[in-house]
Amino acid sequence: MTQWPLVLPVFIPLLTATACAFSFRSHKLSSVISWAGALANLCVALLLIQRVISQGLLVTAFGDWQAPFGIVFVADLLSASMVLITAIIGVAIVLYSTTDLRSKPFYAIYHSFIHVLLAGVMGSFLTGDIFNLYVFFEVMLITSFGLMVINANRQQVDGAVKYVVLNLISTMVFLLAIGLLYGATGTLNMADLNAKVALLPETTMMLIAGLFLFGFAIKASAFPVFSWLPASYHHLPSAIVALYAALLTKVGVYALIRVFTVVFDLVDSGYQPLLIIIAGLTMLTGVLGAASQFNIKRILSFHIISQIGYMLMGLAIYTPLAITGAIFYIIHHIIVKANLFLIGGFLQRRQGSDNLRELGGAYQSMPWLALLFLIPAFSLAGFPPLSGFWGKFLVIKASLQTDAYLLAATALFVSLMTIYSMTKIWAEAFWKPLPDNAAAPIALTRLENCLYIVPIVALAVITILIGLLAEPVYQLAETSAINLLNPERYINAVLGNMPEPGQISVLAAGESQP
């Protein structure tokens, strides 16, 4: 029975997606199916993390083909917590989109795609096979393409072209890297790769690691290759952009962390100095880009990039404390970023615009929303005791410990600039009176208000909880980080139940015959 919680996080969203697509005639029915699927997934995710904490790593080999030959799903603490956060976001987005996307044609297809996307994300977090990671990336990517162009207007099509072009390049580079890695080592299992990559000649290893770095950097929207993100995100429906902002780039960061700890060693691969520079520049360009924008969604999109910088910084410093910080940061960031976009979307729905020049007076009409905005905004900027403070504190402390003072100074400066952007949204959208030329706010029904506010409140509560109960989350992140840097337990759990050694050597000889 140990396999159930490992398989269900991918299985439930796929089944829900099919059911939603079949129920396209009735909006009500597809909403209910979608809610049920998201909630069931949350339950399974809770079960999974409880199992992982109590029993350690869970592994299942598909079709009973044992690792390293078959495809395995592995849940360690990092994967399980990522799955849990994804499931939480899934519930929030599904609730929010019930009203946000209601007016759209193809309402059921939106829900269907959201669930396929969730399946892709969950699969990426759980898989222990690098080619399977590619497949789940593609599931995620193709669905995100689809969501981007359903019922698209001019701007969305234009944004989608940019998004698709850069992501296709990333996909191809990633595939090439996998092909070369297989050619060099003869295996695709991440646990098995750990030992075999160490035996490679240095130039081969550096070439392949560089390709992986480039491919994942595009997915994570790191410094020189981030332009797809601000070009495509801000014209999407709010529920969709919140989903993308929360998950897509973070899967890229997760893949970077996983591949550059378990498969390659970042220090041995020789890309550590480069990644430190990339991290610093990612933070800076993101936050400077945001400073010049006057549209809520664009400001927030640029902030995704600057926050990705912090996570990369944690990975680049590569001490247990730094990686703990990076993992803490991902967990915090997924929740906070989704919440900010949901609030931005709510403002947009009421006022019919997401341009700060046409917004205002929200504090007067909805003081509670202003408070709800301040929680994730301050958390993003890093005010104690909210969740963002701890993430920033950990990565900056780690950078000071390794004497990376410039990087620490950049991180602190970026944090200041984040406050500037957040106060800009606050001042323009909430504090300033509504401009005379702006349209009157749209009155929403009680149910609509409720469906908009419940996910926002829930995510805000989680942000506060992560901040106040930082200790357990910190311990979870720390254990994950230590396990990532010493992947013996992971490797033993995956490869532990191999067939007898004699059989393997015969098979290996057969596989890599020249």
Binding site: V7, A21, G63, F73
Partner: protein, 130 residues
């Protein structure tokens, strides 16, 4: 495209190809073939019919929306995946009843998923372009 020879032969060839696709699907059990290629052949058969007649004609002959076929296929394939879990075996393990087993179910699922999704694309593109 309205030549009578083409239209008449398209109907015959479509039927032959549908039969052939089922043959390929079953042959895939332990020879080259399988659900994916079988599904694609169904798509080609209907593409031929679409060229000879019209997309609407094909939609009418399909009875259900092609997307429904795709959904049905995905459900079948997922079912083949979880079935072994009820018997305490890992996901996607083959369960056998004599010569017939859950891999066949999976293949049939792939067959429907492929024919459904590719036909959806094809019919929509044809309607959009013409």
């Amino acid at each position: 495209m309205s030549s009578i020879i083409f239209r008449t032969s398209a109907h015959i060839v479509t039927v032959l190809m549908l039969v052939f696709s089922v043959y390929l699907l079953l042959r895939g059990h332990n020879n080259p073939g399988g659900g994916f290629i079988g599904g694609l052949i169904v798509v080609i058969a209907f593409a031929l019919l679409m060229l000879a007649e019209s997309p609407d004609y094909v939609r009418e002959r399909l009875v259900y929306s092609p997307l429904a076929f795709a959904g049905f296929g995905v459900v079948l394939a997922l079912l083949a995946g979880v079935l072994p879990l009820f018997f305490g075996q890992p996901f996607l393990t083959g369960l056998w009843l004599g010569k017939i087993g859950s891999p066949l179910l999976f293949d049939v699922g792939v067959y429907f998923a492929v024919l459904g999704s590719v036909l959806t694309i094809l019919l929509n593109v044809e309607e959009e372009l013409s």
